[in-house]
Every structure is written in structure tokens, then in C-alpha cells.
Amino acid sequence: MQKLQDIAVRVEATDGLPLNHSNATPILHEILHALQRLLNEQESTTIDLRALPFGPGDEEELLNQLGTGEIRVELNSLGRSLITETAYSGVWLVDHRNADDQRIALQIEITPIPSILKAQNEDVQDAIERLEDSLNPSCTETAGP
């Protein structure tokens, strides 16, 4: 089934140029200030792009301006997530998708490394258990009530 987001939409102004409503610029300023805070105060910032009143073309304009950088990570948990560093180091684009590849969150993180990439204690604990199990298969067999 064709999904709504698969239908290519290109918003054009009457003169044929791609349209935007100049809302990207204030966000870029916000990102600049967040980068300065990151460097000077080690403070991370997250901007939820879904909470911004963008007009047609604004999001595209912002993402164009940010460009693509050196890192691109794909996370597979409850659907795909793409985490990419933009052309500006420390500015990350986090694009969460669900199992049907529909976008459920789109955020810009200004941080050394997006928190979702870090291994979580709970998962590490789980990993220890699983690895122990595979290294000592006899243990699990003998260990019983």
C-alpha cells in the first residue's frame, strides 16, 4: 500500500523556486547558541522538530542547511532509527521510525554523542547474563532448583 509520505510533494512558490517561510534561520541561531553552551558548559540540548510551527519547506531548508557529516548510525529497535551527524560537528539529527517506517520523532541533538547510542546499564546486565550462558552452557543446565 502506498503511504502518504511516499507521495512526493515539492512545495513551490509561484516563481518556481522551492518555497520556505524563513523559519530555519532562528533554529540555526538556536543551534549556534546550543553549540557554544556545549563547548563552554558541557550542556547538551535537544530540539524537537515536531514541536515547531514550520511552514511548508522550512524543515527541508533547515536540514539542507545542516547538511550531512561523517557519521551515520542505524538503530534497530521497535523499528528503524537513523542517527546522523550533520556537517556541523556535535549537531546530530535523530530520526526515529516505527515498525512501518513511519516517522515517530525527529529531533536535533547538540551533544558529543546522542544518548540513545550509549549502551544502557540494563542492556549491559542482560548482555552479561547472555554471554555467561553461552560461555558456560553446562552451568545453566546444572543450575536448577
Partner: protein, 368 residues
């Protein structure tokens, strides 16, 4: 059945882990939930901590005088992962449009849910309640008023979904033949959240339910009982076309140069300035667009009495009277009255002059 009971007592965190969802996946889910609840990303850890411990609340959904549009909206939430997960964790025990059971069995399910979750369940209502005659709208022979009062008695809170349940809605429109009233007109002793809109934005409905699931309490409300996170700002203040309003650039018709350039729709009757809703940021159809973006002014569907505000295509602050068209007659009337007043003044002056008596020295002698 044992599985069912297991899920019932598990917290959301336990249930996700059991399904092999990693902590990363859980954090991703929390991020999406925060975004859906229109909460800042800094709230994600708090949401994660709360969701970890969240238990599934029972929800009873009552449909009264409504068009099922609100349910249609809800079932088109279109973010299966997030909403499905949430609905896996909300026990929707009664919804007469969506449930498989019918008749006696359906009503029995409602009563069982009320009984088992006394004081803890959530009642969601869509549709207004007719008071003129209880027979105007009944379910299984029970009038809407009776069913609402009975169901709400043991509820933790009531969510009025849609403008009908929140403010009386279309049935309440002048002359209101059924005597329709809103949920908050009847329910006075329980917290009522109004999730208005015709229909409400799907993610706003699920966002409010998610808030209850996450924090076990209702979100902060505005003066009309609506959640501040979604209804805190006017459409006008969050509209990407606002700069055109401030510059005085307006579309005059739906197909003129201004309309093509995406100018402000105020003159075409946009009710954005007096409407509070999340359309400008949340948008519709998976964030594809929203009314103003697609070129039509806001109808104000999340406000009370939006259908009785003098037409969708008349700007609300601009007079729509006949007087302005008959201004010539008014001016003419003024001229006639003014001329009459002038003539009166002239005759007064003339009669004063006529009555004026000259005083001679002899006259003064006489009086002194």
C-alpha cells in the same frame, strides 16, 4: 486467560522487556511519547521512570450524540508502534463501536470493568448528552444521562473527547433541539478533561491518554478544561503564516495571487486568532499538513459554539452588519436631523433678535 491476567498486572517496563525490547528501544519509545505529549525532550528521563512503573488502566469509552468522527480520528492515529504499545497498556474494556461483543455481553463487560476497577478507571466520552428528552439517545435502552452518571460514579477521571462532549458540539447548535449539554455540565464531582476539536487531533487524544498512563494523573488544564500542552497557544500565534498577517498581506479569495503565495487567510474568515489547538505544530495525517497549510482558514472547531459564530468565511472581529451597506442612508438621516437642528437654532436666534427690546435712558430711570 493466565496470560491475560499476567499482562494485566505487569508494568509497562516489564511487559516491554518480556517482548525483547531493549532499553534503547524503551528510550526511543519514551522519546516518541514525549514528542506526542508535546512535552519538552528534557522530560524523557522522567517519562521513562514513570512508564517503567506504569500499570495498565481500564478505559470505558461511551459514545452519545456523536457522529463517530472522534473514533474515526483515533483509529487513524497512524503511529502504530507508539499508539499500539499504549493501547496494549490501556485496557479498552468498553467501546461500542470498536468492541466485538454486542448487546447483553457488551453491557456486562462495562459493568465488570467498573466493578473490578472501582475508583481507578478512566471514562472517555464522545458526543453530547440530550436533556430535552432522555429517549432522544439511548444505548441498550439506557438513556445517555443515566449511563453517564452511573459509569462516572466509580471513575478516577473523565476525558471528554471532541467538541460535542467538551462543549455540547453540533447537537448544541442553535436552536439545540435535543437540549444537548456537555459532559462537564453534568459531571461536577470528578476531574473532567476536555479534548476538544471536531474531531480532535488523533495524537492529542492518545497524548492525553498517554499522560494519564505515564503519570497516573491528568495534565494541567486551561480555563476551558483543556490540556495546556496542546491547547496552550492560539493557532494564530503558532501559525507559520503569521508574518504575513503582521505585514498586512492577505489572500482576498481562495485562488488569487495572495492565496498562491500562501498569505494570511484572516480576511477569508480564519478563526486562528481565537482558536486554541495544536494543529500548527502537530498537524494532521502523520504530520502531513493542517487546514491553514492546505489553504483554508481555521474553522475554530476546538472552541465552544464554533458553528454559531456568524459563518466560517467571516472574520470574527470585523462587523458583518447591514448598516455599513446603508451608510449613505445613515448619513442622509444625519444631514436631515442636522439641518433641522440648524434651522431650529436659526429660528431661535431670529426670535431672540425679534424679541430684543432696546433699552433707553428713560426706561432705566423708570425702573430705578
Amino acid at each position: 486467560m493466565a496470560d491475560e491476567m499476567m499482562r494485566f498486572t505487569q508494568t509497562l517496563g516489564e511487559s516491554l522487556r518480556e517482548r525483547g525490547v531493549s532499553r534503547r528501544g524503551f528510550l526511543k519509545f519514551c522519546t516518541a511519547t514525549a514528542s506526542m505529549m508535546a512535552l519538552p525532550p528534557t522530560m524523557v528521563p522522567a517519562i521513562a521512570a514513570a512508564l517503567e512503573k506504569a500499570r495498565r488502566p481500564s478505559v470505558i469509552w461511551l459514545s452519545f450524540q456523536e457522529c463517530t468522527g472522534c473514533t474515526e480520528s483515533l483509529t487513524r492515529s497512524h503511529s502504530p508502534t507508539v499508539e499500539n504499545l499504549i493501547f496494549d497498556h490501556i485496557s479498552l474494556d468498553y467501546h461500542h463501536t470498536l468492541q466485538a461483543a454486542a448487546g447483553e455481553a457488551a453491557e456486562a463487560a462495562r459493568e465488570a470493568a467498573m466493578h473490578e476497577n472501582e475508583g481507578k478507571y478512566l471514562v472517555v466520552v464522545d458526543g453530547s448528552i440530550p436533556l430535552a428528552n432522555p429517549g432522544f439517545s439511548t444505548i441498550a435502552g439506557v438513556s445517555n444521562l443515566q449511563m453517564l452518571e452511573e459509569t462516572v460514579k466509580g471513575a478516577a477521571a473523565v476525558v471528554a473527547v471532541g467538541t460535542c462532549a467538551a462543549f455540547g458540539g453540533l447537537p448544541h447548535a442553535n436552536p439545540n433541539p435535543t437540549g444537548a449539554v456537555s459532559v462537564s455540565d453534568i459531571v461536577k464531582d470528578k476531574p473532567v478533561v476536555n479534548v476538544s476539536g471536531c474531531p480532535p487531533i488523533p495524537t492529542v487524544i492518545t497524548g492525553v491518554l498517554a499522560h494519564f498512563l505515564t503519570f497516573g494523573e491528568l495534565p494541567e488544564l486551561d480555563h476551558l478544561g483543556r490540556p495546556m500542552t496542546f491547547y496552550g497557544q492560539s493557532i494564530h500565534d503558532r501559525c507559520y503564516r503569521r508574518p504575513f498577517y503582521d505585514k498586512g498581506l492577505f489572500a482576498e479569495t481562495f485562488d488569487d495571487e495572495g492565496a498562491r503565495k500562501g498569505w494570511c487567510l484572516y480576511r477569508l474568515g480564519c478563526k486562528g486568532p481565537m482558536t486554541y489547538n495544536a494543529c500548527a505544530t502537530t498537524r494532521w495525517n502523520q504530520g502531513t499538513s493542517w487546514p491553514v497549510e492546505s489553504g483554508h482558514g481555521c474553522l475554530g472547531c476546538s472552541e465552544p459554539n464554533f458553528w454559531d459564530t456568524g459563518g466560517f468565511y467571516n472574520a470574527l472581529s470585523i462587523p458583518d452588519s447591514d448598516i455599513t451597506r446603508n451608510i449613505g442612508a445613515v448619513v442622509a438621516g444625519g444631514v436631515v436631523l442636522g439641518a433641522a437642528a440648524g434651522a431650529l437654532n436659526r429660528s431661535k436666534r431670529a426670535s431672540a433678535a425679534a424679541k430684543h427690546e432696546t433699552v433707553t435712558i428713560d426706561d432705566l430711570d423708570k425702573t430705578s
